[in-house]
Amino acid sequence: MAVTAHRKTYSKTYSSWGGVLRAPHEAVLPTARAEAAAALVEPFPNGVVPYGNGRSYGDVGLNPLGGLLDMRGLDRFIAFDPETGLMTCEAGVTLADILAVTARPEADGGGWLLPVMPGTRFITVGGAIANDVHGKNAHRLGSFGCHVEALELARSDGRVLTCSRSENADLFRATIGGLGLTGLILSATLRLRRVPGLGVETEDIRFDHLDRFFDLDAESTGTWEYTAAWIDCLATGTALGRGIYSRSRHVAGVAAQPPARHPHIGVPLAPPISAVNGLSVRAFNALYWRKLGASGRKLSLGAYEPAFFPLDAIDHWNRLYGPKGFFQFQAVVPPADAKAVTGALLGAIATSGQGSMLVVLKRFGEVASEGLLSFPMPGISLALDFPNRGASTTTLLARLEAIVVEAGGRIYPAKDFCMSARSFAAGYPGLEAFRSHLDPAMTSAFARRVGIVREDIP
């Protein structure tokens, strides 16, 4: 432990969620907003990165050997107005905490829900803003940042600024999706969404080719709020892109309790080798694709947890990939060539024989994400995991990256470990404007790798 006038730092090890990077950091563990802001004022020799609940797959939240502000101690609610749905909380509050407090069904089954729910509820509000995360209703309600009313941002010059669409608006837009590089988010005010029923009806529909995904999506988009598809990434030829389309919508009067604040079961230790391999993926996919039986359809009514947070059922599921960890890949490609480009991506993956059970295809809509570096844009998004098999995996990822960039798409920083500076610049035209809002103290392994900040620190 090192103590200076402005902060205490602790040498602690932090890992990416994918487990590929594990490194010591000089961590600050603030428990008050003023303490967090003060810690930022004294320079960190190797820069500093804000860290939330560690669910980013790659290196956006890491700064090996450098400073790290672990924000999990700032987990207090500040205010909630059940008339307007405005919720103010510290940056380290998790989405699971918010759901537990606000999404309790009222007498009519309705309640206040997070307008955007990403695939895991175990992320912090600060992380959700910094990565401008999205959910299955991205085509309707946009990304997380669209529902942030205001945020409190500490800068390393000692200022604490309120940022909103009317105050410090440019900095607000830079901080939404700003990967923690514009300063430290201390707290935020979110506009929650009143739904007439917290429960959802969910329909799963099997489809046997990628083309059918586009048909089902066109048919569903007007009447279903939440849509996404699971894809069998090992299917080839006429079965390329087969999968299961899932669509959900709230049903007035149907209640659902908030999901648990912690998973009930977990993976205590990483197995010595990945439990996710060609054999297990092939077996799982073959069975899963057939799970809907002869009809190929299933309609269910009730809790939203299984539909929105399937991975949250098992704590530390990432350990199943073994000590070498895994890479995650998520990219979005523009709508014009989406069918062909998605086919090319899936073809490259199927040919390589790599991939995992977890593959999600989703259409993003026209609701604009406001952040200068926000990931969502209109088009088709593909996300999947790859067990880390060294060069053969990074070669495949480079191939996918090339297809995406050539199609005018972009790769999601929160999931990325490999993208080049050139691909990042090509995918994010807001980069130049963003740079003027950088806080000189902030950095990350990701920011240096893709050239958002200069490489002169390790």
Binding site: K12, L29, T31, G73, R76, A79, C89, A100, P268
Partner: protein
């Protein structure tokens, strides 16, 4: 005993275990009166508990190292909601034994804060509970109180002293039907232990400990090892022969 609308006083209310317990109680609609030294932190915690569902939250500034103020602290606790159902004594410090060895004044301060102050307060709280013939006094001690060890014996002695005191207090209050709970956590990932590695199977979160406290109070338990596996561990630690024990670095 249900936590709904129950009246709860927490002393050292900004400690991580206390906050976790308060949050669980708030979610059940409890009324809470919180005592702590740091006024800003108290206000932050109070706002949090209100959003989480507490029916009422009162905050009181208190310096538990100032023993002369404890009678007023006890009176304030009972006055806030016209009586109490649960009093949780959660303050303390984790001193560095090596530093204490060379500093008698610091040793005395550590013993005051971890032993003298909490038992004085528990004894002050006892009388009104005894009169009411209901309620519970819960004090966070530690597994470190179970046996003196070279690395930590000032803290251990203070906590061990608390344990013996609570045993006697429990004996006294038994006829009145008042619960006296001795909470003995093991390693808990809190601010107080941030300088330690905080990983591995022996470490618990404050929320896990708080869950155990809620369950122990509901059952009217006397001694709570939390998490549960500290009971067998400490049984072994206590039974290791001295000749062998002296060779360890515990």
């Amino acid at each position: 005993m249900s936590a709904r609308q129950s009246r709860i006083a927490i002393f050292g209310a900004t400690s991580d275990i206390a906050v976790a317990y308060a949050r669980r109680s708030a979610a059940q609609g409890a009324r809470l009166v919180l005592f702590a030294r740091d006024a800003v932190a108290l206000e932050t915690v109070a706002a949090d508990l209100k959003v989480r569902g507490a029916t009422a939250v009162e905050i009181r500034h208190a310096d538990f190292a100032d023993l002369s103020t404890l009678p007023q602290v006890s009176r304030d606790a009972f006055a806030a909601f016209g009586g109490l159902d649960v009093a949780l004594v959660a303050y303390g410090s984790l001193p560095d034994q090596t530093a204490l060895n060379a500093d008698p004044a610091a040793l005395k301060a550590a013993l005051d804060l971890n032993f003298v102050s909490p038992v004085l307060l528990a004894n002050l709280l006892a009388a009104p509970f005894e009169t009411a013939r209901a309620g519970a006094i819960a004090v966070i001690t530690s597994v470190a109180g179970d046996r003196g060890r070279q690395s930590n014996y000032a803290y251990g002695a203070a906590k061990g002293g608390c344990q013996t005191f609570l045993e006697g207090l429990r004996h006294r209050l038994f006829p009145a039907g008042v619960t006296v709970l001795d909470i003995r956590p093991g390693f808990v990932a809190t601010k107080m232990t941030a300088h330690l590695p905080q990983g591995g199977p022996l470490w618990a979160t404050p929320d896990q400990v708080a869950g155990d406290i809620v369950a122990a109070l509901e059952k009217g338990r006397a001694v709570l090892y939390t998490p549960w596996f500290w009971w067998p561990i400490m049984t072994i630690v206590k039974s290791v022969p001295r000749a062998l024990f002296h060779r360890t670095k515990l």
